[in-house]
């Protein structure tokens, strides 16, 4: 360490801008870039959050390729490949992983290793920190979904919708779902007692939700009570919204109420968004104050 530091210039007036919404947004956007860079440097995250839906889609396609199409008419026409059937579920799982699993583990880890404590000692507003996390989820989630669609189309040869209205539905279900999951992730990060236990607490929750919500198992073949339980949680509605986009309309009759029910999808996700927002606001602390 050599002691050559430029002496203090005149006292700045910039500090006043820190507390303005503008300053918080600028810092928040700076956080987004930093967060994304660190996201892709964490091999755990890249594998278990970013690439996981690709791996699962590959496994389902390979495992059930011999069992023929799903939803074939009695005369042998129609139906879609297993890959095509599972694509909406994998997109929904990606939203859950990129939002909820990613942030719940990430923030619990940052709480455990002192990152949050350090940030709490700087003039960074919690709002800017949240903007950074939500931005990271949005960018990585969108990248994941786009890549998943590209792989589905060109590797697994799955036909994608051509109707612009379907893509509009995709856009709002995706954005609403992924933002809801991000806030639920922030709220859930308060649950693990340490950074080390975060995966052990979060992953079982995420896994159970995926099994009961029609991601890994065909939803219409689950018992009614399980479908009803799944209906209490957001993943079921995200998967249903995605099925509405990517499955032929003839599949709507297989839904619990015989229709895509996009209004219910929006309502359920909005309710969970409010739960996530309130939970994040109430539970987030830079450090665990023990008094």
């Amino acid at each position: 360490m050599s002691a050559t530091l430029t002496p203090q210039p005149q006292r700045p007036r910039l500090a006043q801008r820190r507390t303005t919404r503008h300053g918080m947004l600028t810092l928040g956007l700076a956080r987004v870039g930093f967060e994304i860079k660190l996201y892709f440097r964490s091999t755990d995250t890249v594998f278990f959050t970013f690439l996981f839906p690709f791996i699962m889609l590959g496994i389902f396609t390979a495992a059930f390729s011999a069992s023929g199409n799903i939803g074939t008419n009695p005369d042998g026409s129609g139906g879609i490949s297993v890959g095509a059937y599972y694509l909406p579920g994998m997109l929904a799982a990606g939203m859950l992983l990129s939002g909820l699993q990613n942030l719940a583990i990430d923030i619990a880890g940052e709480k455990g290793d002192g990152t949050l404590k350090r940030l709490g000692g700087t003039p960074l507003s919690p709002l800017s920190y949240f903007i950074g996390k939500i931005g990271q989820v949005l960018v990585t989630g969108i990248l994941q979904a786009v890549l998943l669609l590209v792989v589905a189309r060109f590797v697994f040869d799955i036909a994608l919708p051509t109707d612009p209205e379907k893509w509009l539905t995709f856009a709002w279900v995706f954005l609403l779902g992924v933002i809801t999951c991000a806030f639920l992730g922030i709220a859930l990060s308060a649950l693990p007692r340490s950074g080390r236990s975060a995966s052990a607490v979060v992953i079982p929750i995420v896994l159970v939700l995926q099994f009961i919500s029609g991601v890994y198992l065909q939803f219409n073949q689950l018992p009614d009570w399980m479908q009803n339980v799944a209906g209490l949680f957001p993943l079921k509605w995200m998967a249903q919204g995605m099925r509405a986009v990517f499955l032929p309309d003839s599949f709507a009759v297989q839904e619990q109420n015989g229709a895509w029910e996009l209004g219910m999808v929006a309502l359920a996700l909005l309710i969970w968004l409010v739960v996530g927002l309130v939970g994040s606001r109430l539970t987030f602390r830079w450090i665990r104050k023990d008094a």
Partner: protein, 298 residues
């Protein structure tokens, strides 16, 4: 000229965790531009005190003013004026040194130059290394760099040189002297008493949550604790020790009595460490309450 208000004012501060009093009625001021060391055994209440001043913990009783504000309710503008080097890090550190410094510089309204800070902590060659690949001492230098990047008026250093090799420690001391010459107020905790003596203008000693002494490094422990010690071996080879204000006279007398050089002759002026240990042990011996003695041991 009027004297500026103190940078830190602590009045009758207490902090309890349940029935345990971590900090018990302590008061002190730190003048603007002063370097103040808080010394004391592990678990004495140093970190609780410093974390209350940093705004991390809420106090149980008393008044605290840091740079004119109550840290418990201070906002982001206040945080922009302080720098914190926490006791321990342990971040996964997937960012490189330079990325981390640039990012943190961006959080402050008037940061120092990243290159200068990098040079000041001696990490230029590690600029593009990811933080988790650095050695413990190097990671500690990153902590120090992040603490000063925002050009703080008041810098908190909680055991900053843990894991430093001697050379790094001396370089760090030079850095702190530079910050001091710029007018930075510094609050330091350390177990390295040489470091405290080297850097600080004044020090306070906390034992069992109580401030047992405070003063300039030259005053701590009072004049009696500073009386030089003369040690030698007598004619039979037995170790002798005498504390005296006039060691030269004693040595001259010894030389006359022994008719030559006293064997193994030493004249020792008590170091800060000697004085500190004397105070801490004296306090432990002097406390009658059982709870307080266990606190000292803890």
């Amino acid at each position: 000229m009027t004297t500026p208000p103190p940078a830190v004012r602590v009045a009758r501060l207490s902090k309890s965790y349940g029935a345990f009093d971590a900090v018990n009625d302590i008061s002190f001021d730190i003048r603007a531009g002063e370097t103040f060391a808080l010394l004391g055994p592990n678990g004495a209440g140093k970190s609780s005190t410093i974390e209350i001043l940093e705004g991390y913990r809420d106090r149980s009783e008393g008044d605290v003013t840091v740079l004119g504000e109550d840290p418990q309710h201070a906002g982001l503008d206040w945080k922009a004026r302080i720098g914190i080097v926490l006791q321990s890090s342990g971040e996964s550190g997937n960012a490189t040194v330079i990325e981390q410094l640039r990012h943190f510089a961006g959080l402050y309204p008037n940061p120092r130059s990243v290159d200068e800070v990098l040079a000041a902590v001696g990490l230029e060659e590690k600029a593009k290394t990811r933080i988790h690949k650095l050695s413990g001492g190097q990671q500690r230098r990153v902590d120090v760099a992040l603490g000063i990047i925002g050009r703080p008026e008041l810098l908190f250093l909680d055991e900053p040189t843990t894991g430093f090799d001697p050379e790094a420690r001396h370089q760090f001391w030079d850095l702190i002297r530079t910050l001091k010459s710029e007018g930075t107020t510094i609050l330091l905790t350390t177990h390295n008493l040489d470091e405290a003596a080297e850097l600080s203008d004044r020090a306070g000693i906390i034992v069992g949550g109580k401030l047992i002494d405070i003063g300039t490094i030259g005053e701590l422990g009072g004049p009696a604790a500073r009386i030089p010690v003369v040690r030698w071996l007598d004619a039979d080879g037995a170790a002798q020790e005498c504390r005296t204000e006039t060691p030269a006279r004693l040595v001259a007398q010894l030389a006359r009595d022994l008719g030559g050089e006293p064997a193994e002759l030493q004249i020792i002026r008590p170091s800060l460490e000697d004085i500190y240990l004397g105070l801490v042990r004296g306090h432990a011996a002097g406390t009658t309450s059982a709870t307080e003695s266990t606190e000292v041991l803890a």
